[in-house]
């Protein structure tokens, strides 16, 4: 009996059954849209199809403005103090017609940021969030130094996303 077992590869056949089952599922549903719709896919065609992100996803740091277009930050420096990699630099200042202090400078060095969300957690005024952006690559090192001014890269807007798909050409 054991000799028969060595001769006939039952064990390898058992493994092939598992892969065969998956192969069969795909093979027999290849051109049938109804069946195909029922099979859940585990992979996503990423650059062509946008990725589904969870609501709590931690992306790039963004400064928020209130309804009047006024910056919500009041320079309490809590985010600057809690940041583990010290990427935030705030300069306190005054603005006419505003009681609270106003950030003259809010610098953010994205190249050292580790996206831990401690800054957002420490903020008592809900004036910063981490947005849902993860495609943050850029060609120049200066593009990672974000501030309140700047046209393409600033703290209020999402960073410009480079072209990623060959299909767009």
């Amino acid at each position: 009996m054991s000799f028969l077992r060595t001769l006939i590869p039952f064990d390898i056949a058992a493994g092939l059954t598992v892969t065969g089952r998956y192969f069969g599922k795909v093979f027999f549903s290849a051109n049938r849209k109804k069946v195909r719709a029922q099979i859940k896919h585990f992979t996503q065609e990423y650059p062509e199809v946008p990725v589904r992100l969870q609501p709590r996803f931690r992306g790039r740091l963004t400064l928020l403005k209130d309804e009047q277009g006024e910056i919500k930050c009041v320079c309490c420096l809590a985010c600057e103090k809690i940041c583990p990699t010290e990427v935030i630099t705030i300069e306190k200042g005054k603005k006419e017609g505003r009681k609270m202090p106003y950030p003259v400078r809010y610098d953010f060095e994205m190249e050292r940021c580790i996206f831990c969300e401690f800054c957002v957690e420490s903020c008592g005024f809900d004036s910063i969030i981490l947005n849902h952006q993860f495609e943050l690559a850029a060609y120049n090192r200066e593009d990672f130094s974000l501030g309140m001014d700047g046209v393409a890269q600033n703290m209020f807007e999402p960073s410009p996303v480079g072209r990623h798909s060959v299909a767009e050409d």
Partner: protein
């Protein structure tokens, strides 16, 4: 007539099977390894020194980057260690959620181990299947804390937020599916003759050697020693959980494979108990905004997927940062068993031995 000469070669640091930047200097007599010296330090970042200059809140982000495939286990060790230092009691619901996430992380880590270990030895199929399940778990982590690998999941005193809506339902979907997936992996590997030829009797390490070298985790349990921190010194909510410690006595690569698969079944059981018995209540204890320590030192071990992970803190009076922080990393200690395992054996077994130790270089070099 023929000259008999030993050859010295380097395995790594760029070798795909060394799981990172591990370099192993090998002295070969033909195909037989006569001497083996692991060379580490290519990924050294000085985490222990950095943590001396960061507060207890901030230091946690570096623990994500130690064992990056099991970041939540590292977070648990840090958070519980600091809580032990300051005598903070964590709410029961937070303890349950911590246990739940840590066990899911153990599954993710073991799945990555299974995938890469099998791929190293030559079984390609199980790699893709195991990554499919791991992907689902990483999505759950993303739903809970917003990141997939560098989680920073816990806070000193509990959790930042409660579980997101729909988390328990999604976790239950995984629970219902996972046992069938485990069955598939076993179908592919356990009785497969190629797998058995590559693993049975390979890289043996008996119980005395394991204890002498300080090896912990599945490697120790596969040698027949039922030592598990979760049972020996229960932390989080493990004292309330019902689970077993799987052991084997063969102490070879195949036994470690079976032990890890059995561990995945036990983790599955613990997750189910956490989901069923999740208590209501707050998830964060009341703690002061700035923690100021007394002169103290503590050591807090937890059972990480790879073995005993311990955090050692020395604190000074009125300090907000640890005076000294040391990590007892399981991979680092387990790696020193490598020469014992493979000296006198064939070169091809080195790959199996590195895979079965389940080392992660982020943790070894720190």
């Amino acid at each position: 007539m023929f000259k008999n000469e030993e050859m010295e070669i380097n395995l790594g640091p760029q070798h795909p099977s060394t799981h990172g930047v591990l370099r192993v200097k090998l002295r070969l007599d033909g195909e037989t390894v006569t001497k083996c010296t692991p060379v580490i330090g290519y990924l050294h970042r000085g985490v222990e020194k950095i943590c001396e200059n960061k507060t207890y809140f901030q230091g946690q982000v570096w623990t994500d980057r130690l064992d990056y495939v099991a970041a939540i286990s590292n977070n648990l060790g840090w958070a519980e260690g600091v809580e032990k230092l300051f005598g903070i009691e964590v709410p029961r619901r937070a303890k349950y959620i911590r246990t739940l996430l840590t066990e899911q992380n153990r599954l993710a880590s073991h799945l990555l181990w299974l995938a890469t270990h099998a791929l190293d030895i030559g079984a390609m199929t199980v790699f893709l299947y195991a990554f499919r399940e791991r992907e689902y778990l990483l999505d759950l982590f993303e739903a809970f804390c917003g990141a997939r690998l560098t989680t920073t999941a816990f806070r000193i005193g509990g959790l930042r937020e409660d579980l997101p809506p729909g988390f328990i339902k999604d976790a239950q979907v995984f629970q219902d599916r996972f046992l069938h997936c485990l069955y598939e992996y076993e179908e592919l590997l356990t009785e497969n003759r190629i797998w058995k030829k590559r693993t049975v009797g390979v890289a043996k390490l008996n119980a005395e050697d394991c204890i002498a070298l300080g090896v912990t985790g599945p490697v120790l349990r596969a040698a027949g020693v039922p030592y598990d921190i979760r049972k020996a010194f229960p932390n989080a909510a493990y004292a309330e959980m019902d689970f077993e410690i799987p052991t084997r006595t063969e102490a070879d690569t195949y036994a470690r494979y079976l032990v890890r698969l059995a561990e995945m079944r036990q983790s599955h059981r613990i997750i189910q108990q956490c989901l069923d018995g999740l208590p209501e209540g707050p998830v964060m204890a009341k703690i002061p905004k700035i923690l100021r320590s007394e002169v103290n030192e503590i050591y807090h071990p937890i059972e990480a997927p790879k073995g005993e992970l311990g955090y050692y803190f020395v604190s000074e009076k009125g300090g907000t940062m640890p005076y000294r922080m040391h990590v007892r990393a399981p991979s680092f200690v387990n790696l020193q068993a490598l020469p014992k395992m493979i000296e006198g054996r064939l070169l091809a077994d080195v790959i199996a031995a590195i895979g079965t130790l389940d080392v992660v270089l982020g943790e070894i070099d720190r």
